[in-house]
Amino acid sequence: MRRSRAAYPWTWRVMDGLESLAARLWPARFEKGLPYLMLAPAVLLVGILVLGLVQIGDSSLRVLDTSTFLMSEDLTLANYQRALTESFFATVAGRSLLGSVIVTIVTLIFAFPYAYLMVRTPSSALRKFLLVALFLPFFIGQVVRAYGWLIILGNQGMVNEALGLVGVPPMRLLYNYPAVLFGLVQYMLPFAVLMLAPALTAIPAELESAASSLGANWLRTFRHVVLPLARPGLVGAGLVVVTLSLTDFAIPAILGGGSQDFIANAIYDQFFRTSDQGMGATLSLMLVAVGSLLVGLVFMLFGAGTLAMTGGRK
């Protein structure tokens, strides 16, 4: 008996030991509670965040006393009134919202053919190349990547030098709205492709052959078969991209150079530059509200897409 047990690898025996320990600590009659126990860490993490939200909600109702730099004792809606009436905040909010919508549309348009080629190509070498090309910038991190764009697009950057060689005078390619949107699209592309690829994999290639044998050219096949079936993927990818770009900080900060602030940058300024916690908290809550509203709107119009996790839908 002993010898036959010793024949198992030591990792198996360690697992056996752990199992018997777990059985003693967590007897079988508690088994129904096990899933909830495993859920606990995640609930705890989200719970702490909710607590923080309550704290932020409280801060948002207090105004900064500019003579003492302390928050007021009494509660007031003054911050909200400022946020809704001052044109600076409206400009930032409009810029962020419009930007995130444009970035989402452009990213989806770019990501779709990329994901489609990656899924459908018969060449595994090409598929690997596309995956690596997608992930390489992913590994670099957002801030480093944004600095990379500074080097490439700067006044003495590679692009302007190349333009100089053909006699075009240096152009200002940075610190403007298109530069921020460009940076965001480049940052969002891998997310969108990764969300779209499984949705496209789920569309059998045979359906496209069938459509063509039934008389549809590729454009009609795309319009009537591929696009409707890819919708859950498009909605899922769109939701991820729109929320990530609406709340992005680094790209507007670095590629916008302070002149193209998004909501997150405005919040940062309130907390750490003017030290107005109340205003920062107000803007944070309004960003959460606008983001939730946007996502809710998409859910209502298009459904939750792949985020609904109803994989069984045929």
């Binding site: 059998p204 045979e206 359906l207 052959s209 069938a210 459509a211 063509s212 044998s213 039934l214 008389g215 549809a216 050219n217 009609r220 009537h224 078969v225 409707p228 079936l229 045929k314």
Partner: protein, 375 residues
């Protein structure tokens, strides 16, 4: 092979599909080699072969999904290699049906009509007519996932036929069905094909299906057409040992040709001389050969006297008896023919399971049922 495909046709028969020396090479694999055949209008052809025999590749080339690397395919006397699938008038039922899951049954059937810009006002009436043809009248509003496997088959057939294509292609659409439904759908295919008279090419590895539904059968193996014949001919007079083995259950006896006189030939194997029918002109005395006898053409009896007037009689011992319902399959070891195992079907409905393993039995068959192939 060319002689076999240049069959006699009446002058009125027009050719719907003509495949001329078609070959397909993937890398260094010859999926199809020098395939040639003609299919007259209104006929039901089945291409039969094991997986990897090139039958699906041939079908995909006719459909236009792949272009042949050599040769040319003619549909209604027009070369079609340069014509993309959506410009060919071919209806196809796919292996996994390929119905559009985001559309109802009626929308699926209407799809080819819309894509081909048929008169929009006539579409609903036509869709309903074809749904009725496949016995799905009233089911048009159902979503695809609300239909059973057999109903989905029928939608796929209606969708492939509704635009009145010149040619209907079936790419093993029945392979996934259970046996009873498959046999029902085989008869359904045959009924619809006869009703509409549409030229049909079916691909399958199911020899029973090929025999049941087709006017003509092509047997393929290793990218080559082995035989093209009517089902009865393919069954009764297989062109070579592969066809004999692939259609039905066949016992092979290896030996040497002892003598040949016209079609009749005698084979010497393990010291016995067995009479048979020669297949092919090349077979001559002294050639190594194989005699093929189908399992159902062998009679089994306890004693030789009961088999009476059969040409060949051998003795053996039952090794196994497998009850399959409508028949019993016996495996019989025959010491006189080098201890070879013979498979024998017994359809005797009266004396079921009359032999058990270990029983001594006598096997017999007629000379005309042993086809002798050159090795």
């Amino acid at each position: 092979m060319a002689a076999a495909s240049a069959e006699r046709r009446g002058p009125r028969d027009t050719i719907a599909v003509s495949v001329r020396d078609v070959g397909m090479v993937f890398g260094d694999v010859h999926a199809v080699r020098n395939a040639s055949f003609d299919l007259p209008k209104g006929r039901f052809l089945t291409i039969l072969g094991p997986s990897g025999s090139g039958k699906t590749t041939l079908l995909r080339m006719i459909a236009g999904f792949d272009a042949p690397t050599s040769g040319e395919i003619y549909i209604n006397d027009r070369p079609v290699s340069a014509v993309p699938p959506h410009r060919r008038a071919i209806g196809m039922v796919f292996q996994k049906l390929a119905l559009f899951p985001h559309m109802t049954a009626a929308e699926n059937v209407a799809f080819p009509l819309k894509m081909r810009r048929h008169d929009a006002r006539a579409i609903p009436e036509k869709v309903e007519r074809y749904l009725e043809l496949v016995r799905l009248g009233g089911y048009g509003g159902r979503r695809i996932n609300e239909l059973s496997g057999g109903q989905q088959q029928r939608v796929a057939i209606a969708r492939a036929l509704v635009f009145e294509p010149d040619l209907l292609l079936l790419d093993e659409p029945l392979a996934a069905l259970d046996r009873k439904l498959r046999e029902e759908m085989q008869l359904e295919f045959r009924r619809i094909q006869k009703e509409l008279g549409v030229t049909t090419i079916n691909v399958t590895h199911d020899q029973r299906e090929a025999l049941v539904v087709s006017d003509e059968v092509i047997v393929m193996e290793g990218g080559l057409i082995q035989q093209k014949a009517e089902p009865v001919q393919a069954y009764r007079t297989p062109a070579n040992a592969f066809v004999a083995n692939f259609i039905g259950v066949t016992n092979f006896i290896e030996g040497v040709v002892a003598a040949r006189d016209g079609a009749s030939v005698s084979v010497s194997a393990h010291g016995c001389t067995l009479p048979g029918v020669a297949v092919g002109e090349a077979l001559a005395g002294g050639d190594a050969c194989a005699g093929a006898v189908r399992a159902e053409q062998i009679r089994i009896a306890p004693r030789a006297e009961t088999l009476g007037n059969l040409d060949t009689l051998v003795e053996g011992t039952v090794v196994d008896a497998i009850f399959e319902g409508e028949r019993i399959v016996y495996e019989v070891r025959v010491p006189g023919l080098g201890d070879q195992l013979f498979r024998v079907f017994d359809h005797d409905p009266v004396n079921h399971l009359q032999f058990s393993p270990g029983d001594s039995v006598c096997l017999g068959w007629n000379a005309r049922d042993m086809h002798v192939f050159k090795k």
